[in-house]
């Protein structure tokens, strides 16, 4: 890289940031000077439109296109529900669906619970920052890094050799036979889920820790004066206080779990009955070049997320009522 390259790069970033600020500045300048009549509409558009326009181009249009693709064959001819029929008739389909459900049940709940417990335990303790960084680190590690990290946990070597996977080494220390973790059903799916939990706990912990900091100190102290123990205070004061944060964390992790494909893809390739819907989608759309089938799986994913959407609508309504 030459110095000119570097200047060019910095120039790009600088221009982009300046341009972005300038456009926003202009928008706000005119919004504040909009005629009284219709100012509300102008304001609304100014705040909402930039994001909405990008979303329409980048997500809504592709989503519609994907839905149409789901009803077509390789060449794009309309074939009705064939892709969906294919999905539910191939032998592995039900296993894939079952696995996805198992993932969604376990991963969000466990990472949220551990993240919450951890956030509560370390709250205001000495060295809170160090504690936080330790659990946060997995979030910051690239996926390539995470893959190699877990290789050193699950790797199998026969009993007569030195283990290089920690889990099997522990078994060997206790006089057990090493296990092929990623190949033995059904624990292999569990082993993959653990990787996701390991990553997502840091996310849950950071958000929930921030929420906990927001819980009213007065209430906690009042409860303490009433002679409640730590668990009661947590149940009756902290938990209601961080309800919003909990919903956010659970929802976000659930959606991330539904979309998970790279853990499965790189660790087992979907073999040994560990595949999930998102992984099938990727494989069909890009490896097998069957865009219709891939799209059909994407539609199924979308349907799977609907219950979460409905739940969030209800939470949203409740919030509105409180306010």
């Amino acid at each position: 890289m030459t110095t000119t390259d570097l200047i060019g790069k910095l120039l790009q970033v600088g221009l982009a940031l300046a341009g972005f600020s300038a456009v926003l500045g202009l928008i706000f300048f005119f919004v504040d000077r909009a005629p009284k009549r219709g100012r509300d509409v102008v304001q609304l558009l100014a705040f909402l439109l930039p994001a909405m326009a990008l979303i329409a181009i980048g997500l809504v249009y592709p989503a519609i296109r994907t839905t149409i693709t789901a009803f077509g064959d390789k060449a794009g001819n309309f074939i009705g529900l064939d892709n969906f029929v294919w999905m539910f008739t191939q032998p592995e389909a039900l296993i894939t669906l079952r696995n996805t459900v198992v993932w969604v049940i376990i991963a969000p709940a466990v990472s949220t619970i551990i993240g919450l417990a951890y956030a509560v335990f370390i709250d205001k303790s000495r060295g809170e920052r160090i504690y936080k960084v330790l659990v946060f680190m997995p979030v910051a590690i690239s996926f390539v890094g995470a893959g190699i990290i877990w290789k050193f946990i699950y790797e199998y070597r026969p009993a007569e050799r030195d283990q290089i996977g920690l889990l099997n080494q522990i078994l060997v220390w206790f006089g057990q036979e090493p296990v092929l973790w990623l190949q033995t059903e059904p624990i292999n799916t569990l082993m993959l889920i653990i990787v996701l939990i390991w990553v997502q706990t840091g996310f849950a912990m950071v958000i929930l820790s921030a929420s906990i900091k927001g819980v009213s100190i007065e209430q906690l102290e009042a409860a303490q004066l009433d002679g409640t123990n730590a668990w009661q205070r947590f149940r009756n004061v902290t938990l209601p206080g961080i309800r919003g944060g909990l919903v956010v964390v659970l929802t976000t992790i659930t959606i991330a779990t539904l979309k998970i494909f790279d853990i499965v893809r790189t660790m087992t390739g979907g073999n040994f009955n560990t595949s999930v819907v998102a992984n099938e989608m990727y494989t069909q759309a890009f490896r097998a070049v069957e865009p219709g089938r891939g799209a059909a799986l994407a539609v199924v994913l979308f349907l799977l997320v609907l219950p979460i959407v409905v739940y969030n609508i209800r939470v949203l309504r409740q919030q509105k009522e409180i306010r």
């Binding site: 390789k74 070597r157 026969p158 390739g269 073999n271 070049v289 069957e290």
Partner: protein, 448 residues
């Protein structure tokens, strides 16, 4: 936001920037090799181009191999003025489809999968090979090889490099010590396997199917070798083109033969575990027990030469050496192998020039001279090969009596070749029956 807060935001960003700059400083510019004294006689035919003319190549080749690729056309660049920009990606198979459909294809693509070439050609993304390339192909490549760059009767690309699959790696010292002979026929290989197993000195085979997302492919190589040797090239071609079903008895027989070698607990998996360890043993690690004396043989392509630890002598009287998986009869020279095809997404003058150069004997000799690979280009001088094994392989490829067939899984449609065939092999080694496995793969063959 207060000034203090602003400073707090500034510090991490500044720190990150400093780290970045430090790294920049460390690496610095890599000076372009001096090319002033290049002999341009070989490149006159390609013409000269304005400075700044670029040709983008996108391919699967990475790292050291990509460096060597760049080196192989450095003189060409200096003489013609074309700047060849190579980009390699491990995600090539997916990304090339994305780029083509997104309207942003490279000028040239290098892929080891004739199946992908066929898909791209039929989708209209490729331009037919220009006359100069076609001339080179008919001059320097056998018909077998030319056919892998031909889709529906139109030549769309020339082959590039090659590798021979189906070598069996062994330790000459161990063989001599135990009085084991290099088998000349498939039956002898089976007898040898039994003999080693019964001797209990070591397991006859070590096998590893694991290869990240592509887990299972080493298994497909086994099957392909057996189909070609037992059923012959005609059946092999019918199988690849789906003129016979995947669960044809001939394929079942081949798979069962593979099973006789590697599915029996007595035969595998030397020092790596039981039969069930095959699916999760990295293919790259799988051959190493040959050196440790815990297994006698390992089935893998020529490129495994690069996987032996530094200092391992690969020679007929060295630490390891390899023989070609024998045929049913003695001296039946039928081998499977792989290679790359160069395809073009446009026919601009500079693209044609690069494409033509890559299909020439000049390039093949240049590249092979740099080391590590071979090519099936008949204009290649075997002397240029960088090792004994590669020289042997070049001779084998250039021998007109050799029947060569491309790795079937690379030629089959993606849904099978890079999908169900791999997965099928993993399930099969995990205990699924031959019939069930083949029925599953057959069922996944895309409808025309």
């Amino acid at each position: 936001m207060s000034a203090k807060q602003r400073r707090r935001l500034f510090i991490p960003i500044a720190a990150a920037a400093v780290v970045g700059l430090a790294l920049t400083g460390c690496t610095g510019d890599i000076a372009a090799e001096e090319t002033a004294d290049t002999d341009c006689a070989d490149y006159e035919a390609y013409g000269t181009f304005d400075a700044g003319t670029e040709v983008n190549i996108y391919g699967t080749i990475l790292e050291v191999e990509a460096d060597r690729l760049n080196e192989s056309w450095a003189d060409f660049e200096a003489c013609t003025g074309i700047d060849v920009i190579y980009e390699g990606s491990a995600e090539f198979e997916e990304q090339i489809n994305v780029r083509v459909q997104g309207g942003n294809p490279p000028d040239l693509g290098i892929t080891p999968q004739p199946g992908l070439v066929a898909d791209l050609a039929r989708s209209g993304a490729l331009v037919p090979a220009p006359q100069a390339v076609a001339d080179n192909v008919s001059e320097f490549w056998s018909e077998d090889w030319a056919s892998y760059g031909t889709v529906d009767g139109t030549l769309v690309g020339a082959p590039l490099m090659a590798s021979i699959k189906g070598y069996v790696w062994y330790s000459p010292a161990v063989f001599e010590e135990n009085g084991w002979e290099i088998p000349a026929t498939l039956d002898e290989l089976a007898t040898l396997t039994d003999e080693i197993a019964e001797s209990e000195v070591m397991k006859p085979w070590c096998v590893g199917f694991a290869s990240g997302v592509a887990t299972g492919w080493p298994g497909t190589d086994w099957v392909e070798d057996m189909v070609l040797r037992q059923a012959g090239p005609e059946v092999y071609d019918q199988w690849v083109n789906h003129e016979i079903p995947f669960n044809d008895p001939a394929i079942a027989e081949a798979l069962d033969t593979v099973g006789d070698f590697i599915k029996g607990p007595a035969n595998v998996n030397g020092g790596l575990g039981e039969v069930n360890s095959i699916a999760t043993t990295e293919f790259g690690d799988a051959g190493l027990p040959v050196l440790e004396g815990t297994c006698a043989m390992h089935h893998q392509a020529t490129f495994y030469e690069g996987f032996w630890p530094d200092g391992t002598e690969v020679a007929e009287d060295g630490d390891v050496w390899a023989f070609i998986t024998p045929g049913v009869e003695e001296d039946a020279a039928a081998v499977t192998g792989g290679g790359e095809i160069v395809v073009a997404f446009n026919d601009s003058e500079e693209t044609v020039a690069v494409q033509t150069y890559l299909s020439s004997d000049t390039w093949a000799n240049n590249r092979v001279n740099i080391g590590g690979v071979i090519s099936a280009n008949t204009g290649l001088d075997p002397e240029n090969a960088s090792s004994d094994l590669l020289a042997t392989s070049v001779e084998l490829l250039q021998d007109p009596d050799t029947t060569f067939r491309f790795d079937a899984s690379d030629v089959m449609p993606g849904a099978v070749g890079t999908g169900s065939f791999w997965k099928g092999m993993v399930d099969w080694i995990g205990g699924k029956s031959t019939a069930e496995t083949l029925d599953f793969i057959e069922g996944s063959w895309p409808a025309e």
